[in-house]
C-alpha cells in the first residue's frame, strides 16, 4: 500500500476510528450516508416509519400517507427551484396533469369519464410522471429565455390556464364542482385501496406511499450528487458563470423542469388515490403556494428538508382542527369568524414569512443549528 506525504493511505479507503468526518477517499466524501451515525439513525428512522403502519390508528395513517405523497411533490419542486434555482409557481399544473393522466388510464372504460381500464400502478404511475414531464419540457423553452420573477409570473399564468382547461374538459375531469374518481392503485391484481391480505386499506396505502417516497427520495439525493446535480447548482449560483465553464444552460434548465415535473406528475397520480376522488378546482394557486411553503419551511435544496416540510404542512391541518377544543375563541364552524380554516390559512402565510425572516434554511437549518450547538458544547459559538 502506497503512503502519501500526509500519512493517509491513498489506496483502499478506510475509516479512522473516532474521526467520523475524516474522509480518506473521494468516494467516502460523496457517499449518501457518510457517517456511521447517519447510517444508523437513517436506518432506525426507516424502520420506525415501517413500524408505524402497525402501531398507529388508520385515520392517522391516511394523513401520513398523504404527507408522503406531498413530500414526493415537494422534492420535485425542490429539484427545479432549490437545486436549479428556477422559481416555479406552476407546480400545481404539473400535479394536475399527473393526476388526470393516472385517473384516465386506470379509470373504468365506458364510464362517465375517460377511462382505459389500466389499473396496474406500474403502468399509470410512470405514465403520469412522463405526461407531466413532457408538459414540463414543453414549457421549459420559455423558462430558458426568462429569469427570476418573470419566470415566476409565467408559471403562475400556467396554473390559471391549466385550471381553465381542466374545468372545461368535462370528458376527462368531470368538470367544476363534479369531479371524477381518481386513479385506482392496483398492484399485480391486488386492489390496495380495499382491505386485503396485507392489512387494512389505510395500512396498504401507507406502505405503498412510504416505499415510493423512499425510492423517489434516494433517486433525488443521487441526482443531486451527480454531474447533473452539480450542473444545476452551478446554474442556480450564477448562470453566466456556469455557461462559461461549459454547462449547457438550455439543456440543463429543460432537464430540471422535466425531472421536477416527473416528480409532480407521480405525486399527482398518487395523491388522490387516498381520497379516491379528484376535482379540478383543487389545482389552484393555493396548491402551488403550499408546495413552495413545504420547500421553504423544510429547507431549500435538501431532500430531507422537503420531506420534513411536507410532513409539517400536512400535520398542520389535523393540529388546527384540534384547536377549537383547546382555545374556545376559535370556532370549528366555517360560518363563524375566527374559524379553524382561517387560522390554518393564516398559519401558512405567517410560517412562510417567519421562516424566511428568521431561519431561511428552514427546518433543516434548525437541525444544523442544533447539531452545531452540541458539537461545540459547552461553548456557544
Amino acid at each position: 500500500m502506497t503512503q502519501t506525504t500526509t500519512g493517509i493511505p491513498a489506496g483502499r479507503p478506510r475509516r479512522v476510528r473516532g474521526r467520523p468526518l475524516l474522509y480518506t477517499s473521494y468516494a467516502q466524501d460523496m457517499a449518501l450516508l457518510d457517517t456511521r451515525a447517519k447510517r444508523v439513525w437513517t436506518g432506525l428512522l426507516v424502520l420506525l416509519a415501517f413500524a408505524l403502519s402497525v402501531v398507529v390508528a388508520d385515520s392517522s395513517l391516511e394523513v401520513l400517507a398523504g404527507a408522503y405523497v406531498l413530500a414526493i411533490g415537494a422534492i420535485g419542486l425542490n429539484i427545479v427551484t432549490g437545486y436549479a434555482g428556477q422559481v416555479s409557481l406552476g407546480h400545481a399544473f404539473f400535479v394536475a396533469i399527473g393526476a388526470y393522466t393516472a385517473a384516465a388510464l386506470s379509470g373504468p372504460p365506458g364510464g362517465d369519464n375517460l377511462g382505459y381500464g389500466l389499473a396496474e400502478i406500474w403502468i399509470w404511475l410512470p405514465a403520469a410522471g412522463l405526461a407531466a414531464a413532457a408538459a414540463g419540457v414543453l414549457v421549459a423553452p420559455l423558462a430558458t429565455r426568462l429569469r427570476g420573477l418573470y419566470l415566476a409570473i409565467v408559471t403562475l399564468g400556467l396554473v390559471f390556464l391549466g385550471e381553465h382547461v381542466f374545468k372545461e374538459w368535462k370528458e376527462l375531469t368531470g368538470g367544476f364542482g363534479v369531479g371524477r374518481e381518481a386513479a385506482v392503485p392496483q398492484l399485480f391484481g391486488t386492489r390496495l385501496d380495499q382491505d386485503g391480505a396485507l392489512g387494512t386499506r389505510e395500512q396498504q396505502l401507507y406502505l405503498l406511499m412510504l416505499v415510493l417516497l423512499i425510492v423517489f427520495a434516494v433517486a433525488a439525493r443521487n441526482l443531486a450528487r451527480s454531474r447533473v446535480g452539480r450542473a444545476f447548482a452551478a446554474i442556480r449560483d450564477r448562470d453566466i458563470a456556469a455557461a462559461v465553464i461549459g454547462v449547457p444552460l438550455a439543456r440543463y434548465k429543460v432537464l430540471a423542469f422535466g425531472i421536477s415535473s416527473f416528480y409532480a406528475g407521480c405525486a399527482g397520480g398518487l395523491l388522490y388515490t387516498i381520497s379516491g376522488y379528484v376535482e379540478p378546482s383543487s389545482f389552484s394557486l393555493l396548491l402551488s403556494v403550499q408546495f413552495i411553503a413545504m420547500v421553504l419551511i423544510g429547507g431549500v435544496a435538501t431532500v430531507s428538508g422537503a420531506i420534513a416540510g411536507a410532513l409539517f404542512i400536512s400535520l398542520l391541518q389535523p393540529l388546527t382542527r384540534a384547536l377549537p377544543a383547546l382555545v374556545p375563541v376559535i370556532s370549528g364552524d366555517t360560518t363563524q369568524t375566527p374559524n379553524v380554516f382561517q387560522v390554518e390559512t393564516v398559519l401558512y402565510g405567517l410560517l412562510i414569512v417567519l421562516f424566511l425572516v428568521f431561519e431561511p434554511r428552514g427546518l433543516f437549518g434548525l437541525w444544523i443549528r442544533a447539531q452545531n450547538y452540541w458539537k461545540s458544547w459547552p461553548f456557544s459559538y
Partner: protein, 295 residues
Amino acid sequence: MTGALESIIRGLGNGSVYALLALGFVIIYKATRVISFAQPALMLAGAVAVSHLAEVTGFYLAVLLSALLIAGVALGIERVAIRPMVGRPVFVVAIITLGIDVVVRVVVNGFIGRDVRQVGDPWGFGQVTLGPLVVQQRWLAMLLTTAVLVALLFAFFRHTRYGLAMRAAAVDQETALAQGVSVGAVFALSWALAGFLAAIAGMFVGTGQGIEQMTWVVALKALPAIIVGGLDSLGGAVVGGLVIGVVESLFQSYQGDFAPWLGQNFAVVSPYVVMLLVLLVRPYGLFGTREVERV
C-alpha cells in the same frame, strides 16, 4: 360595429383598473426590484374599506379615506416585513409578500362575510348614450379617474423632489444613497403609492357587481399586464393594462360565437395567453429594459 366599440370601451374601462394595479406593481418593482404579491390583498382591503366607510361618510370621502388607510397599511407592511429583508434575494422577498397576501386576505375576508358587499358607488349598472353607443357610466368613470391619476403620478415623478428621489433610487440605489437620497423612504413611499392605487382599483372592481371573497383574483390580471408592458416601465404598465382589458373584453363578447371550443369563461384566462404570446416574441415585454449582464 357599435357592439365592437362598446366592447372596446368596456375593455378600456376594466383595463384602466388593471393599469392602476399594474402601476402599483411596477412602482414597487422599480424601487425594490421585488414583485409584491400582496397587491391583491391590498386591493380587496381597499374595496372593503370603501364599502364600510361609505355607509358613514358618503361615497367620495370614503374612497379618499380608504385609499389613505390602505396606503398606511402598505407602509406598515413595508416597515415590518420588507425593510428587514433588504439585501436578501428578491425571490425570498417575493415569497414573503405572497405570505403576507394570504394573511391579509384572511383578515379582510372576516370583514366581507359570506355575502356580496356593495361598495355604495353612485354608478351601479347605470348607462349613458354617447352618440350611437350605449355604455355603462362606471367604465367611463374608471377611464377618467385613471387618466387623471396617471397624469398626476407622472407629474409627481417628473417634477417633485420625491419623484426625482424615486427615479434616482430606481436607477442605482447605492449611487442614490451617496447623493443623499433616503432609499428607505423611497421604499416606504413606493409601497404607500402602490397601496393607494390598489385601494382605488379595488373600489372600481367593486362597482356594479359588488365584492366577495373571491374578488382578489381580479388583481392577478395585472400580472400579465406588467409582463406585457415590461416589468420596469410605468408607461408599459398603463399600456399593458389597457391591452389586457380590451383583449379580455373582446374575448368576452366574441369568443362564444367564433371559438366556442375554447370553453366558457375563456375570457378570464385570455390575459395569460396574451402574456405567453408576448413573451415568446419579446422576453422583456413591450417597453421593458433588456437585462444586460456583465461577467
